[in-house]
């Protein structure tokens, strides 16, 4: 067992406190650096995609997991980021300027979509974001002069400081770098004043209000930050796809992002990455097990949708804390090995209580 002994005020502020954490995360980083030389190219491409959706999932986690604002339409932000980035690149901006402009534009749209969050909450917000995403998809499909409509828009290669990141391995490191940047940024955000305020708004608006937190402002700020980061993910996704069509950013992607956040476990950045990895890999896994299934099921399109639904249902019903909850349970079990009590994480009995008047 491990006990926390703080010997200085700086101790609880460290991101990595223990030697075991340094070893574990160091090994992970080394493995990720070695991965593109070890894995076959197909899996490197998959990893690129995983990094990109992890960024988007982290962004949604800030909004849904930490601030408690439901968004069922986050793919719209990815779409705006991707299209804006492609448009800026095609119009002669450099990579870094373009990705920043695209994300800023996405953040501006996030501000507009987030403003209703001051007035409406819960289910209403879910519906408004869903409707916003559908409208965005339609607009992108119709605005042919800028987006190319349904015939698509090609994306130039990413060139940073004269170096072409277009190759698979180079792009891998670009995505990894951005993911680490975003992750450390969000980690620091969440343990700072703003992040604490977000959690306060999620847990009780009234209590947060009493403590002098500007509730409406923080809700909108969460939307803006989330949209900004999602815009970055969208811009990277544009390079990953190399060719943008509106169908790629439809309802399915929005739902997948929500799935990542819920399955990963609301309220933990680690969970967001876990969820992104699981959901991002699921199509590949399913295609791997397809040969083992009877042909009548394996050849149909619906299998993937069905498995997504099944996994989501099982998590919501039996493990609301998500993959991160499982992870923590496993860790506690290993740490306290012979002394683990089965009831440590037992859920209390809950009763129906109305949220109708919120």
């Amino acid at each position: 067992m491990r006990f926390d002994y703080d010997t200085s005020y700086a101790d609880p502020q460290r991101l990595l406190r223990y030697r075991s954490q340094w070893i574990a995360y160091g090994t992970l980083v080394l493995a990720l650096i070695a991965a593109p030389w070890v894995l076959p190219p197909y899996y490197v491409g998959e990893l690129n995609y995983l990094f990109i959706v992890s960024i988007a999932s982290l962004a949604l986690m800030i909004l849904t997991g930490y601030t408690g604002q439901v968004s069922l339409g986050h793919a719209a932000f990815m779409a705006i980021g991707a299209y804006a980035h492609a448009w800026f690149l095609n119009n002669g901006l450099g990579f870094i300027a373009s990705i920043l402009c695209a994300s800023a534009l996405t953040a501006a749209v996030g501000l507009v979509i987030g403003l209703p969050a001051i007035r409406v909450s819960g289910l209403y917000l879910a519906m408004i974001t869903l409707a916003g995403a559908l409208v965005t998809e339609q607009i992108i499909g119709r605005w042919k002069d800028v987006t190319g409509g349904y015939s698509g828009l090609s994306v130039p290669a990413p060139i940073v400081f004269g170096f072409d990141f277009g190759s698979l391995r180079a792009f891998y490191f670009l995505c990894l770098f951005v993911l680490v940047l975003v992750l450390s940024g969000l980690l620091n955000l969440m343990r700072g004043r703003t992040g604490r305020a977000f959690v306060g708004v999620r847990d009780s608006e009234a209590a947060a209000y009493t403590l002098g937190i500007w509730v409406g402002g923080h809700k909108v700020l969460a939307f803006v930050i989330s949209a900004f980061v999602t815009g970055i993910a969208g811009a990277l996704l544009a390079h990953h796809l190399q060719f943008l069509t509106p169908d790629g950013f439809g309802l399915t992607l929005s739902m997948e992002l929500v799935l990542m956040v819920v399955i990963g476990g609301l309220g933990s950045l680690r969970g967001a990455v876990f969820g992104a990895v699981l959901i991002g890999l699921l199509p590949t896994l399913i295609s791997k097990i397809k040969p083992a299934l009877p042909a009548s099921i394996a050849t149909q399109f619906g299998l993937e949708t069905f498995v997504f639904g099944l996994i989501l249902a099982l998590f919501v019903m039996f493990e609301p804390a998500g993959l991160n909850g499982r992870w923590i349970k496993l860790k506690v079990l290993l740490q306290n090995f012979p002394l683990y009590r089965r009831n440590t994480f037992r859920r209390g009995k809950v009763y129906m209580h109305s949220e109708r008047y919120r």
């Binding site: 409707a131 619906g302 919501v316």
Partner: protein, 294 residues
């Protein structure tokens, strides 16, 4: 009569016909919302599945139309009942978001199952009214639309009578107003909630069977749930008459947008109305006042 007026009346007629389906969808969603406070995102998929079952019974098994309709409604009602009893009940007391996620999960599973069983192709089935039209002066209307309108009125009236005058209906109202008080009065709240889900699913089946012949029996039928949500919000969330009025209005707005507004607005209109209403007028037409309870 001049052509403009004829067009206007024709559009109104079509709008009311399609709007009555939206109204039924909104009504089904609001029923479960009032009873269990779960916004049923799977409603569209129950509807879509019912259309497929109806097609299977009519076109594959070869049952007569009316028998197939009855069996489909029974299957859907049973499914709705079981859905609440075995799935939705496990998350009672958790935040509203859990209910949203669980119904989305059920929606995915139904969509996946239907698409695995029936494949991606669209199909159609014959009804006693397919291809017939009625002339009302200068207006032309498909008989199917009239049937849709009549059925919507009938279902709404039956539901009203059921909720207003039967003991069971009054018990449902009581349970939806205050579950604990209703329980203490000896009402079987859990069973009633499952029953409401069953009734709502049966209404979804009616909608699906009505909608399928006008469109096609297709996976994308579930999209109608988005129109239903718009109708719900416009009419005022949680209000039964509001759901009906909202549905009819959304139907009308869509028809008029298709003709009088630029290309592309017809598909977006329901969503734009939803966003606009929620931002500027969250109460909707007949919504309850939103008190803030700490």
């Amino acid at each position: 009569m001049n052509a403009q007026l004829v067009q206007f009346l024709q559009l109104s007629l079509n709008g009311v016909a399609i709007g009555s389906i939206y109204a039924l969808v909104a009504l089904g969603i609001v029923l479960t919302y009032k009873a269990t406070e779960v916004l049923n995102f799977a409603y569209g998929d129950i509807l879509m599945m019912s259309a497929f079952i109806g097609w299977g019974l009519i076109a594959v098994v070869g049952l007569p139309f009316w028998l197939a309709v009855l069996i489909t409604i029974a299957i859907a009602a049973f499914l709705g009942y079981m859905l609440d009893r075995h799935i939705m009940r496990t998350i009672v007391g958790q935040p509203q978001f859990a209910g949203v996620m669980l119904t989305i999960a059920v929606a995915f599973m139904l969509r996946g199952a239907v698409s695995m069983m029936f494949g991606p192709t669209s199909r159609n089935y014959p009804t006693p009214w397919s291809g017939q039209i009625t002339h009302l002066g200068p207006l032309v209307i498909a008989d199917l639309s009239l049937v849709i309108l009549a059925t919507a009125l009938l279902v709404t009236a039956l539901l009203f009578l059921f909720l207003r005058y039967t003991q069971l209906g009054i018990a449902i109202q009581a349970a939806s107003q205050n579950q604990l008080a209703a329980y203490l009065c000896g009402i079987r709240v859990k069973w009633l909630n499952s029953l409401v889900w069953g009734v709502a699913a049966a209404m979804a089946a009616v909608c699906g069977l009505l909608l399928a012949p006008t469109a096609l029996v297709d996976i994308s039928l579930w999209f109608v749930v988005l129109k239903g949500l718009a109708a719900l919000v416009l009419g005022g969330f949680g209000s039964v008459p509001g759901a009906i009025i909202g549905g009819l209005l959304i139907g009308l707005i869509e028809q008029f947008a298709g003709v009088y507004l630029p290309d592309g607005f017809k598909e977006m209109m329901a969503q734009l109305v939803l966003i606009g209403v929620l931002i500027f007028w969250p109460r909707g037409l007949l919504g309850e006042a939103h008190g803030r309870r700490v």
